[in-house]
Symmetry: C2
DNA sequence: GTGAAAGCGCTAACAT
DNA sequence: ATGTTAGCGCTTTCAC
């Protein structure tokens, strides 16, 4: 027995296909009696409309593709969640693909999705600043081929589209200022996303805060870590060579790992070394001491970017100018930083 | 300008649609010259074959739907990764949906995917033992409507399909035995997945190990925790009321949280209280002390279940009997448990 | 070497 | 109240 289609049902009742279609869609054109019979039959035999056929006919899938660099990062999971909320509310479904930090995978995924599987795309690119130029060429093809795109977080000037970004400059500034205000002087940065704009903006904010206090910027305090690097090993150099009293880490897992390593080496957190991390996720609250984190409001970002994209999808005829929304971060203060001195 | 189709191209060159189709697919039927012209034009104008149309024609999407309970759980991410590897190798794409612990969401997702978006489904159900019966009815409709299903980890007898499961009974037994062998006597269980078969099997294994040493099972040592519960609060009761010297936790995040809480209350890990957790993820190795974990070999499970499903998809005519594969766990011993005494 | 026609499953404008 | 037809974009068999 093959899959049940309108054609089968029509044959079974010896009526036309369009009659069956109308009956199943409860059209007033069809007599109550026939409708009842057909609907009952359809139900009992688990008739499912073929979405592929419907999509073809409508020239729309009501699917939105979401491409993120890393599913293991809580920030992206939060954004995904926000996107999904809005999309589902507005009648769209999400096809999400993690590129697992691979730019080839990302390119392949985008190409694949662009072949008509989705009405629009939401992208946070894995590309580093040096890769982005080539990579953006490929993305532009998407734009050329009429598929609306919105980007968030990891965006690029090279693509003209709606964007939602985090105020990473300010985030880096605020975090650093908090270190300084609580008496830290020598602040290291641990970045698992070196060579991205995000990482650079945060570092620029950090520099600004240092400058305000006339603390010279020291390149050696910036520690880029690769995905397979031995963090403990790398960190030990910085810890040995400098009188570090603050560490700013650019994602949650890295922050937890850094704190663990620091404690294992006998430092007191926050008194010897204070720690601030990015992404206020599941763990920050639970480890000891609980971690002071920068919240990027992932869910809100997801909601915003989904709304921007869907608005555009639904107003294809009257294209609005592209928008870039900037979302401010919040510093969630916990116990991995010292208290602000009262005066 | 609308989207470029074979029709447009045909009009542009004043040839038939089928000629263009053949030219683009590099058929030998078409003259080199015309092929070259058409291919060049298609390339330059970013022609993309409409996948929806192709899917309709082929009555196949080469998509596999994957439905998992929780994207924040590293085990499922690993499985997803394994599925993706195999699927991509064998020419399939993955549409993954997290049900975020909601049974309604899971049901909705399954229904949605069953409308022709995928050729087959891989499911790990969020349903608890009491929910599964009703829920399985819905899933059976999928089976009835000809869409092949494979399940992993959270499976049910009520559905007849290929399955890959973890030997959770043995895992619970081995972990408990390890506690006992290292001198622990009063072992608590913290389960965020209470009322699932998985949780029950692990607990049965735990009971068997206790029984072998003539230690009576004490219901009060089993702590189910809900997603929004205050773990610290709940754990404090068990810790106060009993002389716990071992805790077995059923997912990685919970394990990390438990250790943090235990340490914060002044216990030494592993000497006062030993800890073993399930899912050997990103964190276990990095926290202090590093955690002894049960590895479920998620990627392998993913590969296996993907192969089972794809085999079935590609042998629709000669259906094999359904298979259930059982995957053994490994205990990854680290520093949250005491050493096995030499004798 | 090129084209016409049918069909995948569905809907909707237009008959009857 | 029911049926006919055309068409969404594509492939493929069968003519020419």
């Amino acid at each position: 027995m093959s899959k049940l289609t309108l054609k089968n049902i029509a044959a079974h009742f010896k009526v036309s296909i369009s009659t069956v279609s109308k009956a199943i869609n409860d059209s007033h054109e069809i007599s109550q009696k026939l409708k009842a019979k057909i609907q009952k039959f359809a139900q009992e035999n688990h008739y499912k409309p073929n979405k592929v056929a419907i999509n073809l006919r409508n020239r729309s899938t009501r699917n939105i593709g979401v491409v993120i660099p890393n599913i293991l990062n809580y920030f992206f999971v939060q954004v995904l969640y926000g996107i999904e909320q809005v999309a589902n509310n507005r009648g769209y479904n999400i096809i999400s693909c993690a590129s697992n930090q691979s730019i080839e995978k990302e390119a392949k995924t985008l190409e694949l999705l662009s072949y008509g599987s989705v009405d629009g795309l939401i992208i946070s690119s894995v590309a580093t600043e040096s890769q982005i130029k080539n990579h953006a060429e490929g993305m532009k093809e998407l734009v050329d081929s009429q598929i609306p795109i919105a980007m968030f977080d990891r965006v690029t000037d090279l693509i003209d589209c709606d964007k939602v970004i985090v105020d990473d400059f300010e985030a880096g500034y605020k975090a650093t200022k908090y270190f300084l205000d609580t008496g830290c002087q020598t602040i290291a940065i641990v970045t698992p996303i070196d060579h991205t704009e995000i990482s650079r903006f945060r570092t620029e904010g950090y520099k600004k805060a240092l400058k305000e206090r006339n603390i010279p910027f020291d390149e050696k305090l910036i520690l880029p870590v690769g995905i397979d690097d031995d963090l403990e090993f790398l960190l030990s150099f910085i810890l040995n060579d400098n009188q570090i009293d603050g560490i700013l880490a650019f994602d949650e897992i890295t922050t937890v790992k850094v704190m663990t390593i620091v404690k294992a080496r006998g430092y007191q957190v926050p008194n010897d070394i204070s720690i601030i991390g990015f992404t206020n996720g599941q763990l920050s609250k639970y480890v000891t001491p609980s971690l002071t984190m920068v919240s990027q409001h992932g869910a809100y970002i997801g909601e915003t970017v989904a709304n921007l994209l869907i608005n555009r999808l639904e107003n294809k005829e009257v294209p609005e100018p592209f928008e870039t929304r900037v979302v401010k971060t919040s510093l969630i203060v916990r116990d991995s930083t010292r208290k602000i001195p009262m005066d």
